[in-house]
């Protein structure tokens, strides 16, 4: 069975995010007063597997081995069957 996986990677709470800070300053230049700006990276792919649980375990392993750096990142995994 084929599944779509989506990994959302964000910086841990309290980590400085220079990209988000720059975006917030740029928005201020356009007179938009915003706060709590953040950026999140999303990695999407599809893969074959027996069921959602097995796929989730596999994607979690990918996050720990390559997609994220556990020192600075949090991640969320979304799995859905391909239509």
């Amino acid at each position: 069975m084929k599944f779509n996986a989506e990994v959302k990677i964000s910086l841990k709470k309290g980590m400085l995010n220079p990209e988000a800070a720059t975006i917030e300053r740029a928005l201020a230049l356009l007179k938009y007063d915003v706060e709590n700006t953040d950026t999140i990276k999303i990695i999407k792919f599809s893969l074959e597997g027996e069921n959602t649980d097995i796929i989730r375990r596999e994607v979690d392993e990918m996050c720990q081995r390559l997609l994220c750096n556990p020192v600075i990142h949090n991640y969320e995994i979304g799995i859905s069957p391909e239509d």
């Binding site: 980590m15 400085l16 220079p18 990209e19 800070a21 720059t22 081995r65 390559l66 997609l67 750096n69 020192v71 600075i72």
Partner: protein
């Protein structure tokens, strides 16, 4: 002293490191990312550059290539390993040194000479300096801000190798810009000693990093 210079697609300081190692009296040779066995070498230098285009995170892709297994074996054999700039980011990604080098606080690529303090002389690379000696070497990176949530442990275990002495240009935690593993044999530094290895370059303060390898 045979020293392996590891090359990944996108490495670009490999030839500079080769030159500096020769100046120091070492016998360097290039090794590609897909060579697993590097046991014939006495030491390893991972040079700077933009391996795999810095995709995902600087150093993240290089960190899973076959040569990394060889580098881990090198450390088990108590041979020294030095990572410079992108090489430092790779060593942090593998977890061979603690912490991470991430995006500069000002979100810019910074290329400039910096004043640095040698914080420990127990690594082979800093063995020829005096503790707290002030030296001058350039940095050139966008992802060099050192972060570690266990800074106290790092200090207690004497794992801080280099710190910015004047301005802290990239926002590194406690101005740290070089760290080593617990044994002091694996060393990761963001500044470029090879770009400060001859007076004609503006300073030869970095040459002792390579002389230290030969002396080890």
């Amino acid at each position: 002293m045979k020293v392996a210079i590891i090359r990944f697609p996108g490495s670009n300081c490999d030839r500079d490191v080769y030159h500096a190692l020769e100046l120091a009296g070492a016998n360097p040779d290039y090794v590609w990312w897909n060579q697993r066995d590097i046991s014939s070498f006495d030491a390893v230098v991972i040079p700077g550059g933009f391996s795999y285009g810095d995709y995902l995170r600087a150093g993240a892709i290089a960190a899973i290539t076959p040569v990394i297994e060889g580098i881990k074996e090198t450390v088990k054999e108590k041979k020294p390993v030095l990572g410079i700039c992108n090489g430092a980011q790779i060593l942090a990604e593998i977890g061979m040194v603690p912490g991470v080098f991430t995006n500069n606080s000002n979100a810019k690529f910074i290329c400039k000479w910096t004043d640095l303090r040698v914080k420990t002389t127990r690594t082979p690379f800093t063995s020829m300096y005096n503790k707290n000696e002030l030296i001058k070497m350039p940095i050139a990176h966008a992802e060099g801000r050192y972060y570690n949530d266990e800074m106290e442990k790092l200090q207690d275990q004497d794992q801080i190798v280099l710190a910015f002495a004047g301005e802290n240009p990239n926002g590194s935690l406690e101005a740290v810009t070089g760290v080593c593993d617990e044994d002091g044999l694996v060393c990761a530094v963001m500044p470029h000693p090879e770009r400060a290895s001859e007076n004609i370059l503006g300073s030869d303060d970095g040459l002792k990093f390579f002389k230290g390898i030969v002396n080890y």
